[in-house]
Amino acid sequence: MQFTKKDILDMDSLTADEINLILDTAEHMKEVSQRPIKKVPTLRGKTVVLFFYEPSTRTRVSFDIAAKRLSADCHSISAGTSSIVKGETLVDTAKNLEAMNPDVIIIRHPSAGAPHMLAKKLKASVINAGDGMHAHPTQSLLDLMTVRERKGRIKGQRVAIIGDISHSRVARSNCIGFTKMGASVVLAGPPTMIPMAVETLGVSVTHNIDEAIYGADVIMVLRIQKERQKGFLFSTEREYSRVYGLTNERLKNAREDALIMHPGPINRGVEISSEVADGPYSIILEQVTNGVAVRMALLLLVAGGARNVDAD
């Protein structure tokens, strides 16, 4: 199968076959990262620009390492150090970047839809590294890879996602990604954190964490951001942790082989207790390892893929 997508914008726009191809490719890429000399020449002469309008450590370093392991030249720009602070618009900044002929632009942006806007304007491939509350497709793909690796398949798995679904691009992308691959997804969290009409993404909703955990093969916990107290989404971290926090006590209701995932960074003692985060079923760090593999796979696939000759 040939991968023909110019851009990786969200999980909606990828087919199940394309997702499988990405995951298969990522498995090969993972092997590269395990060699003593962790570098292949595949993307030598290609230019990758990391364009981060939002603070990020994990995702940015992950993309940076992925590009370098494929021998691409990788340049990183962040909002604080670029002409964005001088008032240049996103489109102008991107067009200026494009004038330097990069092959792939990886963008993280606080505004939902920003990568879509760039993808329409630019000939370079655009990979969405997280846009507002909308999508985080590379995170979803690495989560799919990790589950497939551990469980052998994604189809038929019951995935519980717990936390602030409303503000989570990871949750949105995983709702779409996991259901597309045949898993069932149940969301749990306080009603204040469940977006309206989220069932239309093909998932079910409960406000009781024990109900979500019961029978789940995968339990994915989302970070709780303290600043959401301002929007009255929850009372205190104390109460959140008591009612919705994942603890060993709660895990007694889960399947014995349930996997614990978290997109990071974790708040120990709030949405997840240390004993669970560090416990035998936690695969949080494997997610990070697979993140590099998935991003290598995507760079490889798009940098060899079709070009948008119609972009204006």
Partner: protein, 441 residues
């Protein structure tokens, strides 16, 4: 100078609906002339050149309106002209030209300019600029509070003397209920209409589009319908409390329509307007993050759109007004959540309204009522095809088919979600004070 508008079907709800000749002397209509039976067949084009007839009046100019609709001048009571302060988006001249190209003879411009229209200098300036442009009549809307800050009332007496017809904080709600109450009472003393932009800012929070399935999928912060209806309900309560009429701007939700319908049934003197986009589009237009589908209130669900159409049909919504809101690329060619609210509307409103007629939701007289008769009654201004009245007239060709091309707009704004739409029917002549200011016959 004598002008004869010959043989059009005059649709002036509450006054007349029939084929008439209209004789105009200078700026006034001086005679409405019944057409003889044999002449009526001119309308079907079976007889000769209509210009040969009516020679007894010796008109200097004859406008052949056979087969066309002749209405009292259309009024758009909700327009942003952006001048003074934002001339790069629109000027009074370009806005007025857009108005007459769209068939409007009178427009009301909202006060959120820079400086705000909250004193006589600004109102005078707007009126003098509109007279210099010499196209549509511009009736300024003044601010409810000084600087739109919601802290103290403007001098309504001075505004009224300067030619202001209404007050509104449009773009912003009056969040303070006491201020809203006092504004209604105080405005009554000067015979000024109060137009309310209904939005609960706390509940709207950082929302950028309608809350629901599309917002959830796109990851955009939602604005629930209750943001509007809470304030509509409050303003109805204040209207009942004070007995002073209130006009609700840009109604977009089913809950607002229901609240206004109930209030009207109780005899509350509330009136309401909606904009063409609320009966033409839904939140689905935002898919692909199209900033030309971003406005406040936002495009709503299909259920809301249908409720707006029903509200228009049953008279709950009195007026169609465009909320013409020109912006430049600087505000629209950006990330969706950072894009400015608003779309232009003056040059597409008649055609979109005629789609309601085509689909049997409104009759043609209903549409004229919503775009001319009712606005003039609500604003308390003279308008109509009557002998002795000022000659503000719009001629509409129901059969004119065209494709919307934003590049051809007279407005400086290109921010329309209707670019490329196939339309049938448009204004082909606009006359203000006896002067033809737009003609595309």
């Amino acid at each position: 100078m004598l002008t004869l508008i010959r043989g059009g079907r005059v649709v002036d709800p509450g006054n007349l609906d029939g084929v008439r000749d209209i004789l105009i002397e200078d700026d006034k209509i001086i005679k409405i002339i019944e057409i003889e039976e044999d002449e009526k067949s001119f309308a079907s084009g079976r007889m000769g050149d209509p210009r040969e007839a009516r020679t007894e009046y010796r008109p200097d100019k004859i406008i052949n309106a056979f087969g066309k609709i002749v209405t009292p001048g259309l009024i758009d009571m909700h327009v942003h002209l952006r001048e003074p302060g934002f001339e790069y988006k629109e000027t009074i001249e370009t806005g007025c030209r857009a108005a007459v190209y769209g068939g409007f003879t009178t427009i009301c411009c909202m006060p959120n300019t820079n400086p705000v229209n909250d004193d006589r200098q600004v109102a005078n300036y707007i009126i003098s600029q509109s007279l210099r442009a010499g196209m549509a009549r511009v009736l300024p809307v003044g601010a409810i509070s000084k600087g739109l800050r919601g802290e103290s009332l403007c001098e309504y007496g001075e505004l009224k003397d300067a030619g202001v017809v209404a007050v509104s904080e449009d773009g912003l709600p009056v969040m303070d209920s006491l201020l809203m109450r006092r504004a209604l009472e105080y405005a009554k003393g000067f015979g000024l209409l109060v137009i309310s932009h209904c939005e609960d800012l706390s509940l709207a929070a950082n929302g950028v589009m309608n809350e629901g399935e599309v917002a959830t999928r796109l990851g955009l912060a939602g604005i629930p319908g209750a943001v509007e209806s809470i304030m509509v309900t409050r303003d109805i309560a204040l209207c009942e409390l004070t007995g002073v009429p209130v006009h609700i701007a840009h109604v977009s939700t089913i809950e607002s329509v229901n609240a206004i319908r109930d209030a009207k049934q109780r005899g509350v003197p509330v009136t309401a307007e909606t904009a063409p986009h609320y009966f033409s589009l839904t939140e689905e237009a935002v898919l692909e993050y199209d900033t030309h589908a971003k406005m406040n209130p936002p495009l709503r669900s299909e259920q809301d759109r249908e409720a707006i159409q029903e509200g228009l049909a049953d008279g709950t919504i009195d007026v169609i007004a465009t909320d013409h809101a020109p912006h430049s690329d600087i505000e629209k060619e950006v990330e969706f959540d950072r894009a400015a609210n608003g779309i232009i509307g003056l040059e597409t409103s008649v055609s979109l309204g005629l789609k309601l007629v085509e689909h049997g939701i409104l009759t043609l007289p209903d549409l004229v009522e919503k775009m001319s008769t009712n606005p003039s009654h609500i604003l308390g201004i003279e308008n109509g095809v009557l002998s002795g009245a000022q000659a503000d007239i719009t001629v509409i060709d129901l059969d004119r088919a065209y494709t919307v091309n934003a590049d051809n707009f007279q407005s400086k704004g290109r921010n329309t979600p209707f670019n490329g739409w196939e339309m049938k029917g448009k204004a082909v002549l606009t006359m203000v004070g006896g002067k033809v200011v737009f003609e595309d016959m």
